[in-house]
Symmetry: C2
Subunit: 426 residues, 2 copies
């Protein structure tokens, strides 16, 4: 089955916006066991649009067209479809009435430009858009079933998930929807993962996919054979257990929040080189106030002493990037905030500030709890300032995960090197 996708619009073509719709829909189809055979990006002039509609109509079984359904004169997708098929545009009375009612609700009358959105190529079926004014539409032309969709991501995603994917599934029931397992890994590169998992020779019924969500790599296992899938899952987990953060379709912060709330634990942070990144990542999840008390972004040495009680002598003797300072930061955050866990990060994110002894990429971590403090000095090689900060964020959160699960806090992460560590028990 050949499925093609067309993005329209000068904004996409000139790089003014990144085509996230294309990546998103590709993944949705992949997760349902279908893969695009080709994607296109074309300018929104009438000739280019007619060309691509005609070309794909002869070659594909399904064509999804994205963009160009708006109210302005630049929005030419419906007109191009009608011209390609040699049919007129006709008024969809149903969508017209829907628009009139929608505008009446906010005491407005329908403008001529919005009325345009109810004119569809003759013979089209309306595809509902409950969240916007542009209706989608669908028709058969030559070999292909076409779906026209709005460019606004929220409207597009809604329409694809709720209507187009189920419609394709019904019309082309050649593919059973597979079950999908997502496993999030950290500390192992996609190429190494790929090599190790290919070597397992999983059964042919299993489709293996990867998605990089830096610094995590997500493994996808798909199959319509659930016995095979469970067996494959077990073999994958056994092969790379040390690198698995969690399974499921949510973020690391969501995963940790659930565990923290379930266990009734509370947290405070002391961040230097991550500088608020860890707190911001956790607070991105609604309900994080249930366990996160505060973060102390102690960027200056003075603020490390003032906010989390780091001793002047510790700073003077060991420097700000040291397990000694990180340990005092984590303990200070925990005790001052009166919480169960304190986590601290202090490092050299570069590009300046490195030395022979402590090069750029040297980062100290500590986790304090009622039973004591674990601190470690790691060397995170090669990445940019943002890369080092992001990897540090994940290492810090992984320490919390390990503490909650009772695992060893000293994990191995691919090319990251441990240069020092200390355990202080209470």
């Amino acid at each position: 089955m050949r499925i093609e996708f067309i993005s329209t619009g000068d904004e996409v073509l000139s790089g003014q916006i990144v085509d996230t719709n294309a990546a998103w829909i590709s993944q949705q189809f992949f997760d349902q066991g279908r893969t695009f055979t080709r994607r296109h990006t074309v300018a929104d002039d009438l000739a280019s649009l007619i060309d691509i509609i005609t070309e794909t109509s002869h070659r594909a079984d399904v064509v999804i067209m994205n963009g160009g359904l708006g109210p302005t004169s630049d929005d030419l997708s419906a007109e191009a479809a009608a011209k390609a098929m040699g049919v007129p545009l006709t008024l969809s009375q149903a969508w017209y009435d829907h628009l009139v009612a929608k505008y009446a609700k906010s005491n407005r009358s329908l403008s001529v430009s919005n009325e345009k959105q109810a004119w569809l190529p003759q013979g089209s079926e309306v595809v509902d858009n409950p969240v916007g004014t542009a209706c989608g539409f669908s028709f058969k032309f030559n070999r292909a079933r076409f779906y026209f969709t709005p460019g606004v991501p929220s409207e597009f995603k809604h329409m694809v998930a709720e209507q187009i994917l189920p419609d394709i599934q019904q019309r082309f029931a050649t593919v059973s929807v597979p079950t999908l397992i997502k496993i999030k890994t950290f500390g192992i590169s996609e190429s190494v993962l790929n090599e190790q998992l290919q070597a397992l020779n999983l059964p042919d019924s299993i489709t293996l996919g990867f998605r990089v969500d830096f610094p995590m790599v997500e493994i996808k296992l798909l199959s319509t054979n659930s016995a095979d899938l469970q067996q494959a899952r077990a073999r994958v987990v056994a092969e790379i257990a040390d690198f698995i953060l969690f399974e499921g379709d949510f973020s690391f912060a969501e995963y940790l929040q659930k565990m923290m709330l379930d266990k009734g634990k509370t947290l405070s942070l002391a961040e230097s080189c991550t500088g608020g990144m860890i707190a911001s990542e956790l607070i991105a999840v609604a309900g994080s106030s249930g366990y996160l008390d505060s973060s102390h972004v102690t960027y200056s040495n003075e603020s490390k002493s003032r906010l989390v009680n780091v001793k002047q002598t510790t700073l003077a003797n060991h420097g700000a990037v040291s397990i000694e300072v990180a340990a005092e930061m984590a303990e200070g955050a925990m005790l001052n905030a009166g919480v169960d866990f304190g986590i601290a990060v202090s490092g050299i994110a570069g590009p300046g500030g490195g030395s022979d002894e402590k090069p750029v990429g040297t980062v100290a971590f500590a986790l304090s709890s009622k039973t004591g403090t674990y601190s470690q000095l790691l060397f995170i090689p090669r990445w940019s300032r943002q890369g080092i900060r992001t990897v540090a964020l994940y290492i810090a959160l992984d320490m919390l995960r390990r503490a909650l699960l009772g695992l060893d806090l000293a994990a191995e992460f691919g090319s990251v090197e441990r240069r020092d560590e200390r355990v202080e028990e209470k």
Copy 2:
């Protein structure tokens, strides 16, 4: 002139990676006054690759092909090009010698799979890759000049900027490279900007472009006529002065850092709903320790009192999201850290936690300095939790920009509504 771009690879086609190379190169070409006529994404099987190479060779003047130059058996771009043209692959002795020397440096010998990267379609010219092992190559086929490029973004970008763009400029000297002015705006939507600037009827020599970098919108003005360009710039600035953050090709944090360091000012933050986002954005720029002392991520009410001296009575009487609490947070941050400016943000980012009086999107801001404290309560409508936090981040930083420039701190931002404000002078 017709320019087309081809992305190859199942990873792009299945949405496992977002095609940022395509957006990046589109912008580079746009900035040089050239626009792609079409982009393609194809699977990395030999038949699909031969098809697209043949198809585009008849239609385009320039085709840039991205990906499939690696050492593995999946990397088929060179083979496909040779088959499409009906020529053999031949060894590029120059690139082979280069690879042997490169590997010798790290005491390794060249593997058979890496040697493959020196086999190019007969008649190709090598395009140097100083940062990787895959050389690019270029040839003429039918109407089109082809450039084959590696998929690794850093190698791709280097090759396009340093070699391919200059080569196209030399071969197709029909377009003079324009001068480019970038103006960053905030608080005005792209569609409204577009309408207002189209109405200026700028001269035909001016190309107007937009790039959304949420919540900023970047305006691009391009022209090869510098008198026209300066005049257009002045008219655009006059038209939308209130919404301009700055001009130039850097981030808002970089712009503010330069101003803070130039003026010798220092800053501390108190963040609630932004939760470390502001600090993290500022610390993303190397050298930020020159002016940023600390941020107090005071997510709980207790931490607001403990870290930035918010009074229990103020919290009880006005609630955490109020100009009174924001003002105390900003002043507490400034005084405790001993810095020139304190900035505070406290709001309801949702989706829960709103009330009739203070719905989701209600955010209190304050800026303290030696002359006093300005606080305002704004309503940021419609966006998601992350959207509200990001807009709040930009409003907070804009307050700092206005304070540094001696402008009125109460700015108008499109659909954002001011519900309360207070000035306390010292």
